[in-house]
Symmetry: C2
Subunit: 402 residues, 2 copies
Amino acid sequence: MNRERLGDRLADLPTDGYLIDASQDDANQLYLSGFTGPDPFLTLYADGEVHVLVGGLEYGRARKEAAADTVERHADYDYEYGGREARNDMYARFVREKGVESVSMPPRGPVGTADALRERGIDVAVDTDDRIREVRAVKTDEEVDAVRDAQRANEAAMRAAEELIAEADVAGEDAPVEGGDASADDGEVEPGTLLYEGEPLTSERVTEEIEVTLLRHGCALDQTIVAGGAQAADPHDRGSGPLRANEAIIVDIFPRSKATKYNADMTRTFCVGEPSETLREWYDLTERALDAALDAVEPGATGEDVHAAACEVYEDAGEPTFRTDPETETGFIHSTGHGVGLDVHESPRLASGGEELEPGHVITVEPGLYDPDVGGVRIEDIAVVTEDGYENLTAYPIEFEV
Amino acid sequence: MNRERLGDRLADLPTDGYLIDASQDDANQLYLSGFTGPDPFLTLYADGEVHVLVGGLEYGRARKEAAADTVERHADYDYEYGGREARNDMYARFVREKGVESVSMPPRGPVGTADALRERGIDVAVDTDDRIREVRAVKTDEEVDAVRDAQRANEAAMRAAEELIAEADVAGEDAPVEGGDASADDGEVEPGTLLYEGEPLTSERVTEEIEVTLLRHGCALDQTIVAGGAQAADPHDRGSGPLRANEAIIVDIFPRSKATKYNADMTRTFCVGEPSETLREWYDLTERALDAALDAVEPGATGEDVHAAACEVYEDAGEPTFRTDPETETGFIHSTGHGVGLDVHESPRLASGGEELEPGHVITVEPGLYDPDVGGVRIEDIAVVTEDGYENLTAYPIEFEV
């Protein structure tokens, strides 16, 4: 946590304090409290101090772990499990005893707690700016190193995925399937299907290899994208079923370190066999869009500028973007990137309206092209904004045909 | 989703509709919408119908996946990315166009959305009962089967953990460490430390094996507990560092199926070598508490009854519980169990004030004893309440010394 930045950003709060009611699954909570509580707990920022309130089971761990000035437990308020109203009474007392009569809560804070405090005479305002999210966007060197470590795990996982895909056999029109078992010999495998040890190589199999590799490197992920063919044309399709030759296969990995809770994010697109001329052009264009966007990254540039640099490459080549056609369902149909930290998607946004970049912003740059009739291509690097430009944190080759 | 139960439970809502603003990470959202959207989206229940509103990137997938009567996208409301106020205007229009002027939101729904709708003239009430959570608690046969499948993966992972622990060598006082490398030969390994391939066997190493096994079985988990010695005396300590002989090692695994999103949950406690007499007594007591609690499970019994059955075994043996000493930090210091489904902790609670059990409730029963001077012992099975009792979904032996 960057206390100074936090203090600056919260200095002109219209309320006495800032309140978070969430578990460690909420990045604002994790950032402000420093505590990995599995159940929702309260963190109050007031007068430059951080106060945490947890249940008895968490108390010992919270005292050790939390980056807080005070840690209290429910028993300090004579609360045992006594239902909703008693819990809300305790929450109101906890806030008041810190001299706080009004609190801001982040937009996604729980309405149940907000309304309960209001009923008890405490003013609750929504911090529509989500200021702690803004503070989190600028990383300390230690936080950048945490992302860097997660990115090393990411590269190991990408390597495992690329090897599985590159070493796959391809089921032929006539040729018997090598090493195939009964189902493969049955002729149920379509020509062009990638084969691993005689079985169709599926998105699920590659995903499993990626996630096992991440675990072996101290990271976790449950949402890996391995999508080929028409599936790759939907940027949020995680992919399923057999992968095929001559198609683009998008592999998007965004692991989270189990130790630090910081994320990394990287995408590569692979093709076994002969990609179509269109896919080759798309890949070259996307690599140029990546370079153009990265070239635009420097303090003072906005997320919108970086997005524009990527869009221009595509638009000059006649590909639709949201700038030329807000309703397009093909072409470059998402933003150019996003911040990465305790959340895998956080500030700043590299998109229309995207904010000014500052040193310490960790961002991904991920241009891509999509059309169900062609497939999908996306290349994504992760970088940190520096005083005079950026440092690319990604150490993985950009190669289509494997 | 059990539409009939949902309709019954929401029939007497004090509002026109029920609104959820959350991503798939929220179990109520996943249950009501049936859609695995990675970013927050709206689901509105009104007049027995379910309406979903997603961004353009999710539209195709949502139309295929969602268990909704209508699926709309932002473009249907002429919304492109235009910041907060425009988004909130769209949300208000979406609600109003369904003929809805007042909505209930669950207690943990976002206050930002609630207040924005209020500013736009839509009444928002907090559903303090969390009714969808209540509906979710009673499972269909299909949902029970999903838990059963996750539990099979859980048992495979527990087996992998038990084997690692049971097959470990024990570092001796004088004997050189077999197969030890430099660090082990340096005498840095304390006598009694468990060794795997000559290296100290750590909580982290066992956790890795568990989570890799879960992935190989289609499940994920990032919060496994493998805690030995004094660490096991803190029920929420996930454990770290070398494991030791003659100590109790708690292994608590709660995987989630990647395909169905349903969870399982099981705990075993293992000891390599010679447990102390106290640990042996604790283990026997805890096994008796488990049996007593399970015996109390039937429709019409309350969660409080089941909790009482476990407490009585401990109290009769002179061990403290929250019933005999609300402030105790040793003894049986948590509830007896909880519902399991799309959330790993959900209704019903097996605790003081716990609600009446119904057929279809999937619950864990997990008594345990804790004291930093002794260690921790916990045994946890998962079961489904049936018409005339319960069916234990757990197929794993209960054995302490391995």
